[in-house]
Amino acid sequence: MKDTTNILIAAVGGQGALLASKILGAFATARGDDVKMSEIHGMAQRGGSVVTHVRFGEKVFSPTIEQGSADVLLAFEMLEAARHAAMLKPGGTVIVNTQTIAPLPVLTNEMPYPADIIGNLKKMNLRVWHTDALDLARRAGHVKTVNTVLIGMYARMTGDPAESWLKVLAENLPPKLYKVNQAAFTAGYNLSPPWTEQE
């Protein structure tokens, strides 16, 4: 389907990928799009790689994104960005949090954490936008709001007004968590992409 937007979220279990996809899905639903999403629960969430697929447009069939056809990769961690970059279509966009979380082979000193992931991403036929979302989340009030910072960046990129996103956030979060997430969203939204916006 030509008109379908495909967003892949790649994260580490516990980083809030499921909530992020829920927010993206709710935003598209509120706009009147057809929406399908896919995620994996269970064992994979014990600190393993977590991938969720979000798709919206006029009519969506499959809940999963075909390899090589993702428009946007929201990567919550650098190694996960590298792992899933090939899911993007040529010229696609990767928004990546430069945080690193060591996986088991790195923790046990069997393998090094890969060097210069951002540099290598930039060598690919992709638009790369990276930031220290963990730091922004911490400054917004909670390290667990990395997901919302990245949603703020995505929202900025698409150009939709912040208010319409904040409304969806408010509807999908417990009231006591709204304020910190609003701050995190705004921190991401106030960044600007490294490419010219008209591009």
Binding site: E39, I40, M43, R46, S62, T64, L79, A85, N109, P114
Partner: protein
């Protein structure tokens, strides 16, 4: 208003809208959320049953007594429930009875890839297969209608990508389905041969009627395309095919057993080329070939693993989207790991130290089979470890019994471990069994179980005692140990392994992800004392890492369980004073 719903949530919604009064289940990915969502509807009496067999029996009882009932499980759960399922086939139902079974192609979190459609055939039971969230809701309602109209239990089969996918649907209201009279028809639910032989005939007649129903039902959709190719498919595979071949003709089988033979023959006959695209086994394909219809199926799409748009595209059109070339190769894997502060780490560390052969089981603790602990030798199916440890001792004698141990989680013990323990006592075995009591069914996301002290609805319930149970079946040596006390764990394991009698060791600590679990202030490595011996890395705690020089403890991840401090030979891992003073 259109609402975005998880497939499992939509199944729950469908059950509620269909007027279901009783819901039973044993958790298992990817089916678990069905029952968690059902529990939010106060009109439905929902329970976590002790296992799938009991779950189905409770649901059957509810149906006979007049209430619409749903029973939910993962695909391997159906193996456990197979006896009641095949046995209730001939008797049939009173109020509607639907069994929801979630398959896991690709084995995201399962020990095998069995295809539940075969089980419908084995039981002569209709199988419905939704392909998205809206159909999950709709098909549940249809399943109850079919169940009552044809006097049969009905299977609703989902797969991971249906159960754990979101889609839009318009939620409806709850139907007014009154409680039926208690069904006291003479002999209907008596499977003694004299009665059952008669019901056998009825069941065969029922299947004939279901075959006719299949020919006309709108659960099966026939769409003519603009090409001379058609695709016979169902479930999530339909969605992939629609993306790959939008112009083909489609037969989407919402009722995947029994099949509409005449209609299928007719539809295929209108097309030059017929593909069959089905996940897992070639069931439609073989059926069509047996009818003499030339189709292309598993020659083009694999039998192993889950399908995807790219796999279907490759198989049917031999094309792929233009790839973006990537410089990344040989990246470190990121497997799931035991959490920092996990109950299971201590007992398995000691088993490794004692070089035991470990007959394990299924749960979070199965992760101890992987490095760096690498200590579990077997995990076959839930509850198997206890019987297997006993069998190993029969094969290799008493000495081996002193060097081997059975290990099982709390939920798994009640599910199907306790019968194995009875077998050991009765047959004079001397096995040592460890029950890992973290008070919850952790792996599937914290469901209550008989030792949690709470029900699915959060009501308080008797917390069954493993120690009392073991003593009551005649085990004399029952020990309870703190799962973080390595010294005591080692002493107790040595003592019980040495004994030529059966014994049970219960290790206790609340799962660290449980809201009631106690988290302490993070620990720190004293760089002056650390000799970088790496012993602490051997427990596989994700909070501990080595940066090429010294060992570090992640201050966000560490929960201060002190297990690492207990094994450090140089006492280099220390508590820190809490900021602002007070006890650390």
């Amino acid at each position: 208003m259109k609402t975005l719903m998880l497939g499992n949530e939509a199944i729950a919604r469908g059950a509620w809208e269909a007027g279901v009064r009783v819901a039973t289940a044993y958790p298992g990915t990817p089916s678990t959320e069905v029952t968690e969502y059902i529990a939010q509807y106060k009109e439905i009496d929902a329970e976590w049953s002790v296992n799938e067999k009991v779950a189905l029996e409770v649901a059957i009882g509810a149906s006979v007594a007049g209430a619409r009932a749903v029973c939910t499980m993962k695909h391997v759960g159906l193996n456990v429930a197979m006896d009641p399922l095949l046995s209730i086939s001939y008797p049939g139902v009173n109020a509607g009875l639907v069994v929801v079974v979630a398959d896991d192609p690709g084995q995201h979190s399962s020990q095998n890839e069995q295809d539940t459609r075969y089980f419908g055939m084995a039981g002569k039971l209709p199988v419905l297969e939704p392909s998205d969230s809206r159909e999950c809701r709709d098909f549940m309602i249809r399943a109850f209608e079919i169940s009552e109209e044809f006097d049969t239990p009905v299977i609703v089969r989902t797969t991971t990508r249906v159960a754990h996918a979101y889609g839009l649907l318009e939620p409806g209201g709850r139907m007014d389905v009154p409680l039926r009279e208690y069904d006291s028809r003479f002999g209907k639910y008596m499977v003694a041969p004299a009665f059952s032989r008669r019901r056998r005939v009825v069941a065969e007649e029922r299947l004939g009627k279901l075959r006719e129903f299949a020919e006309t039902t709108d659960l099966n959709i026939y769409e003519n395309g603009s090409s001379d190719t058609c695709i016979i498919t169902g479930s999530i595979a339909y969605q992939y095919c629609r993306e790959v071949m939008p112009n083909a003709g489609f037969c989407k089988l919402g009722l995947s057993y029994p099949l509409p033979e005449r209609k299928l023959k007719d539809f295929c006959g209108q097309h030059k080329k017929v593909f069959v695209v089905e996940e897992l086994e070639p069931i439609f394909e073989q059926h069509l070939k047996a009818l003499g219809v030339p189709v292309i199926g598993k020659a083009k799409v694999p039998v192993i693993g889950e399908l995807s748009t790219e796999i279907v595209r490759k198989g049917l059109t031999d094309t792929a989207p233009e790839p973006v070339s990537t410089p990344f190769e040989n990246l470190p894997v990121r497997p799931p790991v035991l959490c920092p502060g996990c109950h299971h780490r201590g007992p398995f560390y000691v088993m490794k130290k004692l070089k035991l052969k470990v007959a394990g089981d299924i749960g979070c603790y199965t992760l101890t089979a992987s490095p760096p602990l690498s200590i579990m030798d077997t995990a076959i199916c839930m509850g198997a470890g206890i019987g297997m440890a006993f069998g190993m001792q029969k094969a290799r004698g008493k000495d081996f019994a002193g060097k081997s141990i059975a290990v099982i989680g709390d939920s798994t013990f009640w599910h199907s471990g306790m019968t194995g323990l009875v077998d050991i006592v009765y047959n004079r075995g001397i096995t040592t069994v460890v029950i890992l009591d973290n008070s919850i069914t952790a792996m599937t996301g914290h469901q209550e179980n008989p030792s949690s002290g709470r029900t699915l609805n959060g009501e308080s319930a008797p917390a069954l005692s493993f120690a009392d149970f073991a003593k009551s079946i005649g085990i004399k040596h029952v020990r309870e140990v703190d799962a973080f006390n390595l010294k005591e764990l080692e002493t107790v394991m040595r003592e019980e392994l040495a004994r030529e009698e059966p014994s049970v060791i219960i290790t206790k600590r609340t799962c660290i992800l449980h809201p009631c679990a106690v988290r302490h202030f993070p620990l720190k490595v004293n760089p002056d004392l650390c000799k970088s011996c790496m012993k602490c890395l051997s427990i596989g705690c994700p909070a501990i890492s080595f940066d090429g020089d010294k060992v570090k403890i992640d201050q966000v991840l560490c929960v201060g369980c002190e297990l690492c401090a207990g094994i450090c030979p140089f006492h280099a891992i220390e508590k820190q004073p809490r900021p602002g003073g007070g006890p650390a």
